[in-house]
């Protein structure tokens, strides 16, 4: 009985101490970035590069854009928001939760169709999806994910959306859609080029005229104690120093931005 009590008391100080991760020092604050899930491949090298240049470390919180926006709205201690679309960032700007002058498009996503290696589908164009040898097709939730909306748009413009309905599987996000295709649960998935750029498999770029550009915007969150550092990172991410990395991972740079 008494031993139990002592054990409990020991755990209290443990509870009070704060978490791990890169230690923030007074001189070198850690910038916290909330980033859309599809940036999981391109961000780490970019952030490492940034840290080497400036000495500023950064941490990333990945998630789906809507969720990340909700978190920021409720006061999550995020410094920089990298969304998978524009509208969520613009919404936050309208609510005064991000610094409007930092809002700009940092990349344009490219929509691709992907099937895993050895699937032998031999897709040459989107119309091939109508063929009976293609089974299930995964797309990210079109109501929530910009890539999903783009996929739907493309299929609609080709008049294929209705016909393919019974074969379409809705995934939570493009990563999950990709996962379905990787595991063979679906035959083919609409996903972001950046996610499959280094992966084997059959790949077909969806012609950009078929969908509205997927503009991914960023902004510095208002009230962040690390605003200066966040601004520097934002500049870096849209500036020339990062151009090569973006391209390497399958993103287009924004020709014009809101800078």
């Amino acid at each position: 009985m008494r031993r139990g009590l002592a054990l409990l008391l020991l755990l209290v100080p443990l509870a009070a101490c704060s978490g791990g991760g890169p230690e923030a020092t007074p001189q070198q604050p850690v910038v916290l970035v909330s980033a859309a899930a599809n940036l999981a491949d391109v961000l780490p090298p970019l952030l490492e590069s940034f840290r080497q240049r400036t000495g500023i470390p950064a941490q990333v919180n990945y998630g789906n854009t809507a969720q990340l926006a909700a978190q920021i709205e409720r006061g999550a201690p995020v410094d920089l928001f990298l969304a998978a679309d524009r509208q969520h960032v613009e919404q936050l700007a309208r609510k005064g939760l991000v610094l409007a002058d930092t809002l700009c498009v940092y990349a344009r996503g490219k929509l691709v169709l992907w099937a895993r290696p050895g699937s032998g589908l031999g897709l040459r164009s989107l119309e091939d999806l109508a063929s009976p040898r293609v089974g299930r097709i995964a797309i990210a939730n079109p109501d929530q994910a910009p890539y999903g909306a783009a996929a739907r748009q493309a299929l609609q413009r080709l008049g294929l959306w209705e016909a393919l309905q019974p074969r379409i599987v809705i995934a939570e996000n493009i990563q999950q859609a990709l996962q379905y295709a990787r595991s063979g649960n679906v035959d083919v998935a609409f996903t972001a080029l950046s996610l499959v750029i280094d992966e084997d498999g059959e790949r077909l770029e969806v012609p950009s005229r078929l969908y509205d550009p997927i503009e991914q915007a960023l902004a510095v969150v208002k009230g962040s104690p690390r605003e200066a550092a966040a601004r520097r990172l934002a500049d870096f991410l849209v500036g020339p120093e990062s151009a090569a990395a973006w391209q390497r991972y399958g993103y287009e740079r924004a020709g014009e931005g809101g800078r």
Binding site: V12, S18, Q59, G63, Q71
Partner: protein, 214 residues
Amino acid sequence: MLAALLVSLKVVGVATLVIAVFGTLLALLLARGRFPGRTLLELLLTLPLVLPPTVVGFFLLYLLGRGSPLREWLGLDLLFTWQGAAVAASLVGLPLMLQSARAAIAAVDPELEDAARTLGRSEPEVLLRVTLPLAHRGILAGLFLGTARALGEFGATLMVAGNIPGRTRTLPMVVYDAALSGDLATAAQVSLLLSGIAFLALAITRRLEQPSRR
């Protein structure tokens, strides 16, 4: 992965404490207390068990985020911290603990407690020397169940604490991330670890639920 293990340990450690203390107190209240609104309280406390984790997460986001009284009055900013994750984990583990503990306490014959009173023991003594010892198996079983659940908590934690490697990324999140990015080896490893722990917890719970032969 080691970082995630540490985060999970911290989160579960605190969650276990919270569940143990609050779970026992609330179970006592629900099992023995008579007050208006008792049923309502019981229902509210059981909700996290049946609600989808994202709903719980949203609720917590509002509870812990900007504009919430908790934040303003107590100055507690728990968003995106492992302590916030611990809160989420406690919340989903608590109902499981309550079910078991409450039943165990209610099963203690009130006549035994009355006997203790007539023998001159004060209410706290009755609690500590009769009620809790006789209910301890059910309480412990509930605690193990609740802790196992807390360990596996994912959806609500994601909302409240985010998925920040080294800071709030827990083991279940590692599985999720690894599976999505095609790193099946890591996903399998961690899944195995989590399953093993859960299995152990359930086995212990089962042992505790067997009536002992005294």
